[in-house]
Symmetry: D2
Subunit: 350 residues, 4 copies
């Protein structure tokens, strides 16, 4: 921890800060410049709230040096985390990207869902996504089919062999959702619902954690830390766009650079949801390609059998035909990228 | 609803969109320009998901004309909502601003809490704030005293007559928190925790709803709409800063203009939390003044008996002496603003 | 300067960084933690580009401790800068706020301009603002009356005694604009037009520097630094809103907290332009009040004799009657704030 | 244009707006809903300032339907613009991506520049970039070698056959820079320096226009419109990252989705600068791949012969060896993408 003192700080104020840290077993190094003094405090940061320190007289700023996330960070685990999803499907590390596809919401038309599932399976996807509990911006929008939706997903799994990923929104629903799903999903708006995160730490199934629309990467990894700290190490991070100043042409800004950044700082797998990020169908293809090219461990893509009549997010859903055409492309790209990753670039660049 | 067709849209695509809307009882007006056609659809927007419409071929964009919030909007209720908090304290409308003060977290030192409470009361505050359930960015930070903290707050209420406002984080905790608190608070990170919002619609106590760090004003009012639609009309909106691109000198950007914007579009009271917005003690005074000058119905200010040893947010907490000095200022300002609001400016400007 | 080494940095990499800094006469303090090493380099930061340092192997991050602005910062000049504008009008320090008012653009109708000028004068404004050279987002929008507009402004000055502030957009225009104007203005979009800033350093007239829509406060003060470093110390900073993620109800977010932040870090006067910040007429009054309450040294407000027919920015311009009513309010508020600033709050809070 | 009236607007206010538009030869369609009235005005938007209209009593909002950019938009020119850069190198349309590489600044060490140029040429780049006039955030940073730097660039062109791209910052410098450069560049901070844009419209050489850090895509295309409207149709747009709320791990957010968005709305070529966008060397490779995968017409990459001693931006510059390794990858990727673009995906998805 670095404590920057005000240029006007008095010596007794500097000493008071140093003393406080020393009583907590920090080792203090004084860095005295002409204008101001900077203290470096070496020790266990968890023993003190930096904000309290910052509130002491004469302190200008407290800067953290070590990343505050531990379990989710590379510093505590250098190797990539590879999660066994089930049926031999693995995500993370050098494994080929996992494709998750399906409708935004599970709807009444179970035949439609099955059509999407068969298409997804055939085109090479491994996971069927679909919401039964739906977080919607307006209370007047479709709120999901709840348990019935989960049953439809289970049926689709039975028919196709795809795994099922679906969202859980509230702690009392976890058991129900976990009894159906293979992978549980935390939505972007719940990324900092800490009670939910803690409770998911007790569930023995992988969790897809979506990045909040205003979450810094540090906050994102700290949210993963909550789940891991509570006992569940199988976290799949999902970039799905952040709020930007221009929502005229795309819903959010897809922060593609977050993929290599996360891969540098964390060992967890990271996937991309181009559908929610952009909100526009015509952007799914280029953004899927870009995400894979940037190193994503997987994609989550919205596909609907009849987008014009979808209960939610029709504008960003691919039709089944579009998804098939997209997968032809992505499969070629995946193959090339697999080859490139064996080349010497990483040794040179990293 | 306005449906903007692509310049390349064919006539049959235009007709298909019009037909779809007509079957839902929308009245369609065609606006045909030289380059493109625009349809105006007049009817009940809730009957169709704009995203589905946007997914139809030939559609460029769907623009909503009416605000999507109904119960929280001025269009359904022209008069200001005034909430009777208890003990004759009213918030909203032309009532003088309500001051809420107290520590970020309730801590073990109950004497400290009582000191803050007595000071707050004496200086003119009406509500004691303090967190017993704490949403913290890191799992390693202090997570709150839970029910014991609620008991301390109740004790402080008993001693001082202040009302109590405290946060609830998860649906299963609502009954417990509501059994102690006079006002329930939804934290910024839970603003779109829709299960929590719905459940709070069933509670017969006022709710402070904090604006999410990346929530647009529309999303903010739609979150209030969830609570109101579920049955609870007593919502106090709280602006507490939004994420900006410069967090070097302040934690968030306090969006002061949101106060008059919200007052134009909604009848609900709106207060400001300058402490979380700025994260810096020296900014509390000018931002409190600015918030009142902009028309806020109240303030929520962090005060701690010993900020250097606070469990959370010490850097932005005032000491009791600082709070007293601040209140001397704010009381004068409140008086002047009360006078100004009787002048003719509103008639002229609005 | 603080150099954070990677956890994986080798000792020879650490030594290489230290050596490089020592050859530039920096004094190095080693702060060795369990996980990583941090170097504190004490010396003249201007001797090295931090980015070059950051490019050395094993370096994770380079953090600046001292603010990079010198002439514009409090560290080099503790007292507030007070600028003598002319005619005895002073801006900055404890002087009462200076009000600048006028149309966005100077237009053909010189009588209209004079009407605004007389109203502004009578209501208590000291400066007439108006653009003769107009930066417009679209090339198809009105681009300003150029020299003829300057002549109109000069006429209005002659008739009313108001000072004139007007924008200069390009280095070759400086002499012309300076030959008419009392105060030169740099628009938000030119805040980092460094050639213009340097050239304005050679002009012996005060400069209003508007904050760029995406400029951090540090970048803002560094832009002022350019002008000061080139020789002109008379800079008036102007907050006019920054880009935010929600432009549905306001054009920009008015960053009111930037006023006290700038007053802490810089000695320069800082004013607020609520018109460009919000883009909405009904927000001018509350935001003007908020700006003064937060400590602004002045306001710049758009007033037009006939906003419905203005060549630019009609939606955010006040009519002359609205401006008069506003000034009645602001004059009362100014008086109260003057009294408050003599109270003991500053001693307690800062 | 769509004019949304307030729910409280009176009939005479509605008629006044309609009348005003009719006198300007707009055709008006009334869309009367239960709550509010919406006017559609069909005609030449350039005849009226929407802001003036918005300032009329009873008007809530004015929405533009047609994009305000004309010359740069697809609506006026459906085919991709292909620019002949020189030496047979073409950029835009289906041409393979053009690679531009070189140091941030041209420095004293001309041998270093030549080394970079030879490497770039050999690895497959077509253009050498390098700044002789440098816009720097701080006046204390290296400001460029000016004309001497241009001479070095010319020498490198002579030796290698690479084209030269370099920045111009101010109108009086245009002739000088244009006398050396093959391609002129407008920096991000000058994107809305309209005098510069207009003057570049008179220059007979291609212009790279970098996106401002807070520029919406619409503002970006309107800046291009300035140059085109003044007479120069050869504009290369360059995405280089926008300001985001998290600058801890990357300098800006690289808005990769802007590439396909721009390709949909404009016919101009669009390239990506991953170096300035991210500010981190390790991100250049994945972001270069992502940019190409998303359809960029080219890349601009910083390469330095000795980044640790660069005068600017060392942290984001590749070494010559790293650039060579990167180009091996990119050449394979380019080939695959060329193949994919011949597949049927576009027909299906767009």
């Amino acid at each position: 921890m670095i404590i920057v003192m005000e240029p006007t700080a008095r010596e007794d104020q500097i000493q008071k800060v140093a003393k406080k840290l020393e009583t907590l077993d920090f080792k203090i190094v004084f860095n005295r410049g002409e204008v101001m003094t900077v203290l470096a405090a070496i020790g266990d940061k968890r023993l003190i709230d930096p904000a309290s320190l910052a509130s002491m007289e004469g302190v200008r700023e407290v800067k953290l040096i070590q990343e505050p996330f531990k379990l989710s960070g590379r510093e505590s685990k250098a190797d990539d985390t590879v999660i066994n999803l089930k049926n031999g499907i693995k995500i993370g590390g050098k494994n080929p990207p996992v494709i998750m596809a399906g409708p935004c919401s599970v709807e009444k038309d179970v035949e439609g869902l099955l059509k999407v599932a068969y298409t997804a399976k055939q085109a090479g996807a491994q996971v069927l996504r679909g919401g039964a509990f739906k977080p919607r911006t307006s209370p007047y929008d479709f709120q999901g089919m709840e348990e019935e939706g989960l049953k439809y997903l289970a049926l689709a799994r039975e028919k196709t062999g795809l795994l099922i990923a679906t969202e859980v929104m509230d702690t009392p629903e976890i058991d129900l959702v976990a009894s159906y799903a293979d992978i549980l999903q935390v939505g972007a708006r719940n990324m900092q619902n800490y009670k939910l995160l803690k409770a998911l730490g007790k569930v023995g199934k992988p969790v897809i954690l979506k990045r909040g629309p205003a979450a810094s990467i540090r906050e994102f990894l700290l949210a993963a830390e909550y789940i891991m700290y509570a006992g569940n190490p199988d976290i799949i991070l999902c970039e799905r766009g952040v709020k930007g100043f221009d929502s005229h042409y795309t819903r959010n800004i897809l922060d593609i650079a977050s993929i290599p950044v996360i891969k540098k700082y964390s060992h967890l797998p990271v996937i991309v949801d181009p559908s929610h990020a952009t909100g526009r169908r015509y952007l799914i293809e280029p953004m899927s390609r870009a995400a894979l090219a940037a190193g994503a461990h997987g994609l989550m893509i919205e596909v609907h059998h009849d987008p014009e009549n979808a209960s939610s997010d029709g504008a960003q859903s691919l039709t089944t035909d579009q998804f098939k055409a997209l997968m032809v492309q992505l499969n070629k790209l995946k193959k090339l990228l697999q080859e490139l990753s064996h080349s010497n670039i990483e040794a040179v660049l990293h």
